[in-house]
């Protein structure tokens, strides 16, 4: 019941908030934040109670839903999904606090609507990470598009309508491919078991013939690759992230996109092991292209929000790379990367949002010398940036290096190319920092930019603290991730390669 409860709290919260009168905006926001914090607390209880000795699903609850089609309300988490849920439940209140006033001037939406939508989104995100019935997952996967559509379309920047529509269309098309593949999978299961099912654990145990696997795999992969997003299915992301409010961008890039990479790890590898191995070489190439392409195009951006969006495309390349090398370091690194990326990109979006809301421009060229007028904000930005470029000492370094180590063991060219990406990461972050923060501030900056305030600091400091703490004590997260990764490796039928030199002489 715990997982269902956790999922329902924000949903109930959104209804409560929505029923409050429009005039009571302040109260609505406080109530929404309260519900988000309660959800966070419940998610922490879930993680605290996790048994790290097994990679199997825990807190499993299963209720019949549409028995005729073998559809059930099945929830359950392992270390990876539990951590992703906690990441989401942390980012939601953070995004709320950071965007406390972001919805005040919306032309078509109200503040309470904004907060209610965020809560609906949170509910869907928890559902997507916890669902272990494929159909249920699909429902959450599609349902979360609509709060995001309205969050962008009603509360975003001048191009919001275009961006929201683009986001929706891309996701719907991806989702349709998944729906088609899912029905195909259902038919296959019906043929094998006599009665069709969407239960993930059952589907994992099926012995689907490789030819069928390869076809069905593509449908799911396309949906996940659009969501993640991977080059060349990425162009919706920069528009959406640039037009949305910073809080929405944080949730969009930090959490929503992870559903794509999580889907690859949690559904594709276990259900389609043969197809995963078959396509892995191509996907690895696509992932390395994403790493480079995202970084290079990020360097070329003139809009700061778009720049951050492109850095994420580069980071998603690392995550996908780690997943499809199948080694324990690759998979654990990718899982941990998903969590870290949520925090570090969230921090970047939020701090930049603070700046943009003051100066009223997203153009990098409109800034300069911010450190002169807002040194603390500059420091916070630098720390989030250092995390984005995976500086050792930050948690993102641990995950990035694990991905590289896991890749190098099985595919050296890919690992070498990916390693070169760390130079580009330094370029896009430090050049951005140089252009916006250093030098003498132009008059427009000194007139408009003020130091970060207490509320804004409250929102980002927890993220920075987490990034540094997990950089030195990553085992806190990895201890939960590792057993789940072992389980995935078992499903795929892959074990880590041995070191070439046996130190102890234990070899034959």
């Amino acid at each position: 019941m715990l997982l269902t409860t956790m999922l329902l709290i924000p949903l109930v919260g959104s209804i409560v908030v929505f029923l409050l009168p429009v005039a009571k905006a302040a109260l609505a926001k406080q109530v929404a934040l309260g519900f988000a914090i309660v959800t966070l607390a419940v998610s922490l209880v879930v993680v605290a109670g996790l048994d790290n000795s097994t990679g199997l699903l825990q807190y499993v609850e299963s209720y019949e839903w549409i028995a005729a089609f073998g559809i059930s309300w099945t929830l359950g988490v392992n270390g990876i999904s539990a951590l992703l849920i906690v990441m989401s439940t942390i980012l939601v209140p953070v995004a709320m606090i950071a965007g406390w006033w972001d919805a005040e001037n919306a032309t078509r939406g109200t503040a309470k609507g904004y907060f209610a939508l965020i809560l609906i989104l949170e509910s869907c995100m928890i559902g997507a990470f916890a669902a272990n019935d494929l159909f249920l997952f699909y429902v959450f996967f599609e349902a979360m598009l609509f709060p995001v559509y309205f969050l962008i379309g009603r509360f975003g920047g001048p191009q919001r309508a275009y961006a929201a529509m683009k986001f929706l269309l891309y996701s719907l098309v991806g989702g349709l491919f998944m729906l088609a593949a899912m029905i195909g999978l259902y038919v296959v299961s019906a043929r094998e078991l006599g009665a069709g099912t969407f239960d993930v654990v059952t589907l994992t145990s099926l012995n689907i013939d490789p030819g069928t696997q390869k076809m069905l795999f593509l449908g799911f992969f396309f949906a996940f690759a659009v969501k993640a997003p991977m080059v060349p299915f990425h162009t919706w992301l920069p528009d959406a992230a640039a037009e949305a409010t910073p809080g929405t961008s944080t949730l969009l890039v930090g959490v929503l996109d992870k559903v794509g990479t999580f889907g690859m790890l949690h559904f594709l590898l276990p259900i389609f092991p043969e197809a995963s191995k078959f396509y892995a070489p191509i996907i690895i190439v696509l992932a390395v292209i994403s790493i480079f392409y995202g970084a290079l195009v990020a360097i070329g951006q003139t809009d700061v929000m778009r720049l951050i969006a492109f850095t994420s495309i580069s980071h998603f390349g690392f995550i996908v790379l780690g997943i499809f090398v199948f080694t324990s370091q690759g998979l654990s690194g990718a899982s941990f990367y998903m969590v870290n990326h949520g925090f570090s990109t969230g921090a970047l979006f939020l701090v930049m949002g603070y700046l943009v809301s003051r100066r009223g421009s997203k153009r990098i060229a409109d800034y300069g010398g911010v450190q002169k007028v807002a040194p603390i904000m500059t420091g916070v930005f630098l720390l989030s940036g250092l995390s984005s470029l995976a500086l050792p000492g930050m948690s993102s370094f641990v995950s990035e290096f694990l991905v590289l180590a896991g890749t190098f063991a099985v595919n050296q060219p890919a690992a070498i190319f990916a390693t070169l990406g760390i130079v580009l990461a330094a370029v896009y972050i430090l050049w951005l920092y140089q252009r916006m923060m250093t030098g003498m501030p132009p008059q427009e900056v000194t007139e408009t930019v003020t130091e970060i305030n207490r509320r804004e600091l409250t929102a980002v400091v927890p993220l920075i603290v987490l990034l540094i703490a997990l950089g030195f004590f990553p085992q806190v997260a990895l201890n939960a991730i590792n057993p789940a990764v072992q389980q995935v490796q078992e499903y795929v039928g892959f074990s880590d390669p041995q070191a070439t030199v046996e130190i102890e002489g234990s070899g034959p």
Partner: protein, 619 residues
């Protein structure tokens, strides 16, 4: 105890950087205290180590398991042995002196507290680098010193040149870091461990080509951090940082980390002659290149920066010689740490008295105005050019000797380097302290206060006696031998022949410089009609120009075309399809219509897709 070495300055950094303005009044004192206590702890550990028999001197400390995923097991553990302790003493000793000096040097700087916070952060990071017991933890220290260096180079953030220099240093270092990352990856898949001990134990049975690749990757890392060819260009720009930073980070400690890395990984290099040859080549090229750049600089700090490149080139070269060179690489690193830090502090003292002017053409005749600076700088000068019995003589001579044992050309390169060093240093002395005063009108040179001159005096004493002390009292060769191994050079040229030759080369270099710059008046504006050689040296041997045309401009072009491609081609293509089926072209005012219509269309497409899939799985 070992953790305390790092913990103390780290604590200082955290307090100063998070404490904000409240700590302004006493922040610098806390920083000095933290650095000094770390030195104190180091001294205790050193005395303890001396007291133990040779085989028990190495001690470790395991703090906690940092990362454990499958075979990737990394402890957060320290190793204090004969090699790391000398680094710890250098870092905390010279570091503390420079902290003290900075109290005076940064007195009028509004962000002095922040500066001291960064300095403490640097000390902690550098100690982590030399105390790590595995390559992965070393990597953490390696990039952390890079961060501290970045923050301190661009400390005057309002200056665009300083901000650009910091960024450049970080990015060029990242190119080197790729080398370290690749070396670590190769070690991991080869040995299944990243501990120094495990890698050394496995090296003997690894394939030669693997060892060579690891060695070359480590060399790339060393080139980045130690400003060796071809990654040397950042160091000259790094002089944008405050002078104490140049002394501590960009002369005495951080830039020598590449030498530490190679010596620490000696098990790899011992077994790969190819890798060693590459190391020697890089060292030889850089020692000549740096010295050459040093000959034409009018900026006193950039002259010294060229000199640092060159001196580290000596160390790298020595490290590439294998067991005959490791200990001398470290020996020279230690003497250089003292005399070069002293020279930089002297340069800072001169700048302090000259309104922060760095142009030596505006100096002259300062020996009477700044007596202490003159004397201490002079001792550093004698040490670096290698006049006996000053510190540099002992260490550099050993390297020249070992180099001749390796190969006549390498030997000649080190000998030529010694001559050029004498030339540019004499030029610097002459332009700064001798000749006639060429001061700008409003400048009134004065000696610096005691808080600055005392550290200079201490370092000058080190420059004078440090070499002898380490060689004759410390017996540095045999002190380091249990860690690095040591072999006497097998030489056809004996030291008895070599020393007089080296000294004459040095005297020729110094004498020629004296004739050109000591005896003749120096134009206040740098002459334009100079030889091609001088022009090349002034342009840092076109290092930046090469980087720019080889990497930066093609990179910019690639970035611009990809950005264009992304919006026009990929997005345009998808947008075009969408427009064709009537979805995306919907104007925003027709949002609702567009939504319904496109939703219907995608539904239709979806139905077709589902039918197709059902056909494919043979319903």
């Amino acid at each position: 105890m070992i953790a305390a070495l790092i913990g103390l300055p780290l604590f200082g950094a955290v307090v100063l950087l998070l404490g904000g303005r409240r700590t302004n009044a006493w922040g610098h004192l806390l920083a000095v205290a933290m650095s000094a206590s770390s030195f104190f702890v180091a001294a205790i550990l050193f005395v303890q180590m001396i007291g133990k028999p040779e085989e028990e001197r190495e001690i470790g400390q395991h703090l906690f398991d940092w990362i454990a995923v499958g075979a990737f097991q990394i402890p957060f553990g320290f190793l204090l042995d004969q090699l790391s302790i000398v680094f710890v003493l250098l870092i905390t000793g010279v570091g503390t002196l420079i902290h003290i000096y900075s109290i005076g040097y940064m007195e009028h700087e509004p962000n002095r507290r922040q500066f001291f916070g960064y300095l403490n952060l640097f000390i902690a990071a550098m100690l982590l680098l030399v105390l790590a017991d595995n390559y992965f933890l070393l990597y953490l220290g390696w990039e952390s010193v890079g961060l501290a260096s970045y923050l301190l180079i661009s400390f005057y953030q309002q200056k665009p040149s300083a901000a650009a220099a910091g960024k450049k240093a970080f990015i060029v270092n990242r190119v080197g870091d790729v080398g370290l990352a690749l070396a670590i990856l190769l070690m991991f898949v080869t040995f299944g461990t990243l501990s120094f001990e495990g890698v050394a134990a496995g090296a003997g049975i690894a394939s030669p080509s693997t060892l060579t690749w690891i060695g070359l990757a480590l060399l790339l890392a060393a080139c980045g951090k130690s400003a060796q060819f071809p990654l040397q260009s950042w160091l000259l720009d790094a002089m944008e940082g405050p002078t104490p930073v140049s002394a501590l980070i960009h002369a005495a400690t951080m830039v020598t980390a590449g030498v530490y890395l190679i010596v620490r990984a000696h098990a790899i290099f011992d077994l790969s002659e190819t890798a060693r040859t590459a190391v020697v080549a890089v060292g030889a090229i850089t020692l000549l290149l740096g010295a050459f750049i040093g000959t034409a600089k009018d900026d006193i700090k950039k002259g010294l920066a060229g000199s640092t490149m060159s001196q580290i080139g000596y160390m790298i070269l020595a490290a590439g010689l294998g067991p005959v060179g490791y200990v001398f690489a470290i020996f020279h690193l230690l003497t250089h740490g003292m005399f070069k830090a002293g020279l930089f502090l002297g340069a800072g003292s001169v700048m302090h008295g000259m309104h922060d002017d760095v142009n030596m053409r505006h100096y002259g005749a300062l020996r009477t105005m700044m007596k202490v600076t003159y004397a201490t700088f002079g001792l550093g000068f004698l040490a670096i050019i290698g006049i006996p019995p000053f510190a540099g003589f002992w260490s550099k001579d050993e390297i020249i000797h070992a180099a001749f044992g390796q190969n006549m050309f390498i030997g000649l390169a080190t000998l030529l380097g010694a001559g050029v060093t004498a030339f540019y240093m004499t030029r610097m002395m002459a332009m700064t302290f001798f000749g006639e005063a060429r001061w700008e009108p409003d400048v009134k040179p004065h000696e610096s206060s005691a808080v600055m001159t005392i550290p200079m005096i201490v370092l000058a004493l080190g420059s004078a006696f440090g070499g002898m002390a380490m060689l004759f009292i410390g017996d540095i060769e045999h002190w380091l031998e249990p860690v690095t191994g040591f072999a006497y050079p097998q030489n056809s040229v004996s030291n008895a022949v070599l020393i007089p030759i080296t000294l004459s080369v040095i005297l020729v270099g110094a004498g020629y410089a004296w004739l050109r710059y000591g005896r003749r008046p120096i134009p206040v504006v740098a002459p334009a009609n100079v030889s091609l050689l001088t022009r090349t040296a002034r342009a840092d041997a076109y290092g930046d120009a090469i980087n720019e045309s080889l990497f930066m401009r093609p990179g910019q072009y690639l970035t611009r075309s990809l950005t264009w491609f992304d919006t026009k081609a990929i997005d345009g293509f998808v947008g075009g399809i969408a427009a064709a089926i009537g979805g995306l072209s919907a104007r925003s005012r027709r949002l609702q219509n567009g939504l319904v219509r496109s939703y219907a269309l995608t539904m239709l497409g979806g139905a077709a897709l589902i039918a197709l899939v059902l056909l494919l799985v043979r319903l």
